[in-house]
Each structure stands twice: as structure tokens, then as C-alpha cells.
């Protein structure tokens, strides 16, 4: 191990290195700077380093999530219907470890669990008088082998995807048209999507969206989006079926100068959902609707001093998030930042589902009371020619943190547990402190390297935390850019133990682990062409990171992309 670590120190590398992931939104599955636990491409516990509060990032509503996917009560990049740049691309991959010829030699009892692939192909045409067309098919079957047996009974078939028989977390195909010119962008996409949603009960719930239609309109300082989904929920094992017709969308005016002053900017928006449920839908929205009206403001009275925040409300909930930040620069090489942040909210995600229906239990996904969260953050950055040092620290206190009161469990199969109960609060103070040190080094355009070490500790009623986060993490990155056309990137990570407390009868420990990612990309800049091969999550032990989830295995994928 000493030699191993020595090699790492020697190969210290660039932070946020250019390691691609299977598809946008899969970043948490290869991240370590904080606590990232993956169950499937449709469920991550993602809590970045120095984040305040015990919740994960995707649980807290933010204006940044307006056009992201809402999966039950959290936001997700995947399955992404974001318009790509004009190009044509294809990707294929596999969790490493199919048997091929070893199949002939291996008896039934020695067979490894089947490894699963990924597949993606898509295009977006060049503009013709501003008009363009796009189409995309993609599914990531990785993270699906552990849930295969249960989900097969739920779906009643292995053919629950656009391609193959692995019951992937999502399988999506869409096509559409758009218009882009000057400050106007309009698009309409229509497609079909298979999804497995992870309920608060711990069940995987099948949802077939057919059709899903998404339209977006952008003109200067106005963004409009409107989505229609016709959803079919099925559970063949129980003989249940339900449908949901949902209209959702948003009207958004992004930041713009206000009151004849370029020091004061404001923004505003309205998000909405209307649903019509019939039969067994497994989720419910109070009054079959949700809306959220919000304001944003940013004020910079003097240079480098910024006050910003957003506040929103609906008929039941309200949320205020604000921050004050002071940035001090000494020359171009020393940078000091001091910030405070406050969050007051009656619910982390006021747009999420109100209920989950499980057996005879109705799980309430919201609760009474108030969350209060206060954070102080400091950062120091120093540059010496090619070397950079960053020191960051954060402390927070939180009262009224959202959690789950588990009242009982049902065992589905060996060590797969579903829980009963309701979302609740921890009405005592939680305190947390985190710190991080990062070194980075750059040698011309040829080599970049960085090393990051961080730690965190929380004090409070830990047994009621959904997740007790990792306390230590380590990350080394290195990128070589050879002849400006061959990129060799790697990153090595360590994340210490994390623990789920409320989704399993006993605390569910996720052991600390090392893992390594590497990527090789050949660039053909003159032709807009890129070829790449990427290995993810190598050297690690294969472990379950989320109860009832799927193992985070070593996987490889290769991609070809031609930009227009």
C-alpha cells in the first residue's frame, strides 16, 4: 500500500479532471468529494463536500432545477432531455465481467452475476434557416442486476425497455424539432421512456411514459417550459395498474437589472404541476396540483460584496434561501472568500409528491414544522506560478432537518426491505464542520494534476439521519494532453464509510473504498471528431451503496462524436 500511495503522490493530478461519465447526470457515481451513494441512474444520494445540512443536494428545490427531471421528491439530471449541441454521437459500454468463453467452463454455482451494458445514439442537425432536428436513444443498464429479480416480477416481463432485457433504470427515446436564431430558441420533443422510480418505501416502481412531450421556449429574458406525460404504472405481481396524465412546466424570468441599477438584479418564476390519476398510481399529489411562485434577487452594493437569494411559496409551503459573500483579492494570486448562508423552509422540495401508497400504508412525504439552517464558509486560494493551493472550510447548524420516521419493515426477499412510516423532522440542533485542502499543478498545456483531501464531522441525533455521511475523502487527478490531440486522464478516489440508518432494520453500512477512473480520448479538432474509451470504478470492492440498490461495478464505455 505504501508503494501504491507513493505512486499516487507522484501522479498527483488535476482536480475535476476530464473523466467522462456514461451520460450526463451520472457524475455522482464516480465522485468522492463528499458523500455520493448510487442505487441506479435514477437514484443517487449526492451530498457534495462543504454542503450544509444532512439532506442531499437533489432534495432541495432550487431555481437551477426548473428544467431538471422531478423523480418522486428529488430532482435528477437523468433521464436528460436537454438539447445537445449540433453533432452526431454513439456510445456503447458494459459493466466489466461478462464470461464469454469462460461460460463454457464455469458451473452454475460459480457463475458471476450477469454484467449489463449501456447504449446511446443521437444527433442534432445543423440549423437550416434557424430550424433543426434532433433525436436520441439512450439507456444505461449498469446498476440493474441486483434489482432484476424483483423488478421482473413487478414488470411481468424482461422486455421492459426500448432495447434488451436487463430492466435498466431508464430507457429513453425521443425526437423533435427546434428553432434557434438570435435570442430565440424553441423546441418540441416527443418520445417514450421506461423508468424505475425509487420510492421512500424502498420499492422500485415501474413507470412507462408514453408519450412524453416536452416543449421549451426561450426569448431574451423569458423561459417557458411545458411538459405532458402519460404515465402507466404497473405491478403485475400484485395485478395492479394505474395511469397518470400530468402537465407540468414553468415560467421563468432569469436575473435582469432592476431599478435602473446594475448593482441590483432580480428574477422571478412560477413552476406548476397538474395531475389526473386513475387506478393504482403509487404516488399522490395533494389536490392533484402543485405550484411554486418565487423571486430571486442579487445585490452587489460594493465590488466583491454580494447578497443574493431566492424566496418562494405556495398554498402550503414556503422556502427562503439567502447568502452573503465577501471576496477579497490581493493582486491576482491571493483570493479570500467569506460567506454565510441561511435556509428557512417548511419543505425541502415543495414540488415533490405528497404521498406514496404502499400496501395499506400512506407514506406522507411532507411534515409540519420548519427547517432552519445556517452556514458559515471560508475559502483561501493562493497561486504561485504553476502551483495552486486552496483551503476551504464550512460550519453549519440545522434544526428541523427532514428525516423519515420508520414505523416498520416488510421483507421482500433476502435483505431487501421496504419501510413504512412518514417523512418527519429532527427537532434538535445538528452541528457540522467540514474542511478541505487542495493542491493543483500545471505544466504548460501538457500536464495538470491535483490532490484533494477533505474531512467532515456531524454532531446531533445521528441515529435519525437518513445517511450518516463519509467523514474523509481523498482525490487525485492527472491529465495529460499530448500533442494537443490525445488526452489521458485519470482520477483516484477514496471515500470513508457512510451509513444508512432508516432504510434497513439494522444500520446499513457502506464500507469505505478506493476506486480509480481512467480515460483516453483521441481528438481530431479539424474534423470535430472525438474518440474515447473510459474505465470507471476500477480497483474497488463491489458493494451496495444504497439498501435495495445495485452494485457500483467496474465498467467501460467507448464513444464517438462528430461535431457539426
Amino acid at each position: 500500500m505504501r508503494i501504491f500511495l507513493l505512486s499516487l503522490v507522484l501522479s498527483i493530478s488535476l482536480i475535476h479532471a476530464a473523466i467522462p461519465v456514461e451520460t450526463e447526470g451520472m457524475e455522482p457515481a464516480i465522485s468522492s468529494d463528499g458523500t455520493y451513494l448510487t442505487a441506479s441512474p435514477t437514484y443517487f444520494f449526492d451530498r457534495p463536500s462543504l454542503m450544509a445540512g444532512i439532506h442531499s443536494q437533489s432534495e432541495l428545490w432550487s431555481p437551477d432545477f426548473l428544467t431538471k427531471r422531478l423523480l418522486v421528491d428529488r430532482y435528477s439530471v437523468l433521464p436528460s432531455w436537454q438539447i445537445q449541441e449540433p453533432s452526431i454521437w454513439m456510445q456503447v459500454g458494459n459493466e466489466v465481467g461478462d464470461m464469454i468463453y469462460h461460460d463454457i467452463l464455469t458451473s452454475s454455482e460459480d457463475r458471476p452475476v450477469n454484467r449489463t451494458p449501456m447504449l446511446e445514439a443521437g444527433f442534432r442537425s445543423n440549423s437550416f434557416h434557424g430550424f433543426w432536428a434532433t433525436g436520441r436513444f439512450f439507456q444505461v443498464d449498469h446498476f440493474s442486476s441486483n434489482t432484476l429479480r424483483i423488478n421482473r416480477k413487478t414488470a411481468g416481463t424482461m422486455e421492459y425497455s426500448l432495447f434488451g432485457a436487463n430492466l435498466p433504470g431508464f430507457s429513453t427515446g425521443y425526437a423533435g424539432l427546434g428553432y434557434t436564431k438570435d435570442q430565440t430558441e424553441i423546441s418540441i420533443l416527443a418520445g417514450k421512456e421506461y423508468l424505475w422510480l425509487f420510492g421512500e418505501s424502498g420499492r422500485w416502481i415501474s413507470a412507462l411514459l408514453s408519450p412524453r412531450i416536452q416543449s421549451q421556449f426561450h426569448y431574451k429574458k423569458l423561459d417557458l417550459s411545458l411538459v405532458y406525460e402519460d404515465v402507466l404504472y404497473i405491478n403485475k405481481e400484485k395485478g395492479e395498474e394505474g395511469t397518470r396524465k400530468e402537465w407540468s412546466g414553468s415560467l421563468y424570468f432569469p436575473y435582469t437589472d432592476c431599478c435602473n441599477s446594475n448593482k441590483f438584479k432580480t428574477g422571478a418564476g412560477l413552476a406548476f404541476r397538474f395531475v389526473n390519476d386513475e387506478g393504482d398510481t403509487y404516488f399522490g399529489l395533494e389536490n392533484d396540483r402543485a405550484f411554486w411562485a418565487f423571486l430571486q434577487a442579487k445585490y452587489e452594493p460594493i465590488k466583491d460584496f454580494t447578497v443574493s437569494g431566492h424566496a418562494g411559496m405556495n398554498e402550503k409551503d414556503w422556502l427562503i434561501q439567502d447568502s452573503i459573500q465577501y471576496s477579497l483579492k490581493k493582486g491576482t494570486q491571493t483570493h479570500f472568500l467569506f460567506g454565510v448562508q441561511n435556509i428557512l423552509a417548511t419543505r425541502l422540495n415543495p414540488m415533490g409528491e405528497s404521498y406514496e401508497y404502499f400496501d395499506q400504508d400512506t407514506i406522507s412525504l411532507s411534515t409540519d414544522g420548519l427547517l432552519q439552517l445556517y452556514q458559515v464558509k471560508i475559502e483561501f486560494n493562493q497561486e504561485w506560478k504553476d502551483l495552486q493551493l486552496g483551503i476551504r472550510s464550512s460550519g453549519f447548524i440545522e434544526k428541523g432537518a427532514e428525516t423519515f420516521d420508520t414505523t416498520g419493515f416488510a421483507e421482500k426477499k433476502s435483505d431487501d426491505w421496504f419501510r413504512y412510516g412518514d417523512v418527519s423532522r429532527i427537532n434538535s440542533w445538528i452541528r457540522g464542520w467540514a474542511g478541505e485542502i487542495e493542491f493543483s499543478y500545471k505544466y504548460n498545456d501538457l500536464f495538470k494534476a491535483s490532490a484533494l483531501v477533505g474531512m467532515e464531522h456531524l454532531w446531533g441525533d445521528e441515529e435519525r439521519f437518513e445517511v450518516e455521511p463519509s467523514e474523509h475523502w481523498l482525490e487525485f487527478n492527472a491529465d495529460w494532453t499530448i500533442n494537443k490531440t490525445l488526452l489521458v486522464s485519470h482520477s483516484l478516489h477514496y471515500r470513508s464509510d457512510a451509513q444508512w440508518n432508516l432504510r434497513h432494520p439494522e444500520p446499513f453500512e457502506v464500507p469505505g473504498d478506493w476506486f480509480w477512473n481512467a480515460s483516453f480520448s483521441q481528438l481530431f479538432p479539424k474534423y470535430g471528431l472525438t474518440l474515447s474509451g473510459t474505465l470507471l470504478h476500477v480497483l474497488s470492492d463491489t458493494t451496495l451503496e444504497v439498501p435495495n440498490g445495485n452494485e457500483n461495478r467496474t465498467r467501460f464505455f467507448c464513444a464517438i462524436k462528430k461535431m457539426f
Binding site: 464470461m99 464469454i100 468463453y101 461460460d103 463454457i104 490531440t485 490525445l486 485519470h490 479539424k526 474505465l535
Partner: protein, 193 residues
């Protein structure tokens, strides 16, 4: 993947990174070649007990990438007969694809050394998918990635044509253990531009 591969990749990246010089001339796609190749693939190690050596055929697009470095893209096919004791099916259809780079070190001229990634797709020639015994996964599609190192030895050159030998050691990332294969083939290459 074992630690030695990890170290090997780090060393490769270091060696390659620090030995590289920034090229000023744009060689990319300045030459393009098409090639046909035929030869024999030899299972090596444990999988020798599963399948027999097989003839293979493949096509290749070969292009100049840097001054002394060439890129390659290959697609090919081989039919691996199973060993005689195995009665479930007679053989396995294997399609493969490879991408990689060949580099000509001045001290090794005219031999080029190469590395790259492989992808193989395999399916049995018949066999009952309902029988859960050995070989069942191959009755459906199986695919896996791997890496290879190779040596290329041009033997004859005549105007736009070249004839030579390619030797590959291919390492496929299978379970319960990795699979190795040695490929030796004769190619005919034509320069297209």
C-alpha cells in the same frame, strides 16, 4: 482489474506524457489506408479448454495521426469451434472491433508497436437457451471489452500497396477470470490518399 495494470497505465501515461513533443505540423489524416487481414487466433491459458484456434478475417481503416503515429479502426469476424467434449453447441460466432494507435520508434524501424481497446460480441451457434448449464449465456448475446498490444511488421511495399504481418496479444476483461488470445495475421494494405 489487478493493481499491476493500474501501475502499467500510470507508467504508460507518465512515459507517454513526458516523452511527447509538441508537433507543429498537422499530420492528422494526411494519409489514409484500407486493409484486409486474415490469420489465426489462438486462445491462450484457461480458455484453451473451451474453444479451439480459429481462422479470422477483418478489415481495417488506418490513418496517420502524428508524425510517427498511426490510428487504426478494425472490424472482424471469427468462428471459434468449441472443444470436442462440449456438446451443447458446435461453435461460437465472434465479431470484434478495435481502436488503437501504432507508433514507430526510430530504433525499431520498420516494426510498429501499438496499443488499443477491443470490443467483442459473441453468440453460440445454436444451443438450447432453456438449459441453464455451462454455455447458457452464450445462447443469448454476450459482449465484453478488453485491451490489446500489437506489433506490425511491413514485409513488402509496392507503390500504394503493402503486405505485412500483425501480431496481437488481446486481453479481454471477462469473469471469473480474464481471457487472453494471441492473433497472428497477414494483411494487404492499400493507400487511399
Amino acid at each position: 482489474m489487478k493493481n499491476q495494470y493500474f501501475f502499467a497505465l500510470i507508467l504508460f501515461a507518465f512515459a507517454y506524457g513526458f516523452s511527447a513533443e509538441v508537433e507543429t505540423k498537422d499530420y492528422m489524416f494526411s494519409e489514409g489506408y484500407l486493409a484486409l487481414e486474415g490469420g489465426e487466433a489462438y486462445p491462450w491459458g484457461i480458455i484453451e479448454d473451451a474453444v479451439q484456434p480459429s481462422l479470422y478475417g477483418q478489415g481495417e481503416f488506418y490513418y496517420r495521426y502524428w508524425e510517427n503515429t498511426y490510428g487504426l479502426v478494425q472490424f472482424g469476424y471469427a468462428y471459434f469451434r468449441t472443444q470436442d467434449y462440449f456438446k451443447r453447441f458446435l461453435g461460437v460466432h465472434q465479431f470484434h472491433g478495435r481502436v488503437g494507435l501504432d507508433h514507430q520508434f526510430s530504433w525499431m524501424r520498420p516494426i510498429l508497436l501499438g496499443v488499443g481497446f477491443s470490443c467483442i460480441w459473441a453468440r453460440s451457434d445454436g444451443g438450447d437457451p432453456e438449459d441453464k448449464g455451462p454455455g447458457v449465456m452464450l445462447t443469448d448475446n454476450e459482449s465484453e471489452f478488453g485491451s490489446f498490444i500489437k506489433a506490425k511488421l511491413p514485409i513488402l511495399k509496392y507503390e500504394k500497396y503493402a503486405v505485412g504481418l500483425n501480431i496481437y496479444w488481446e486481453h479481454i476483461w471477462t469473469l471469473p477470470e480474464k481471457s487472453n488470445m494471441l492473433w497472428i495475421g497477414l494483411f494487404v494494405q492499400r493507400r487511399m490518399w
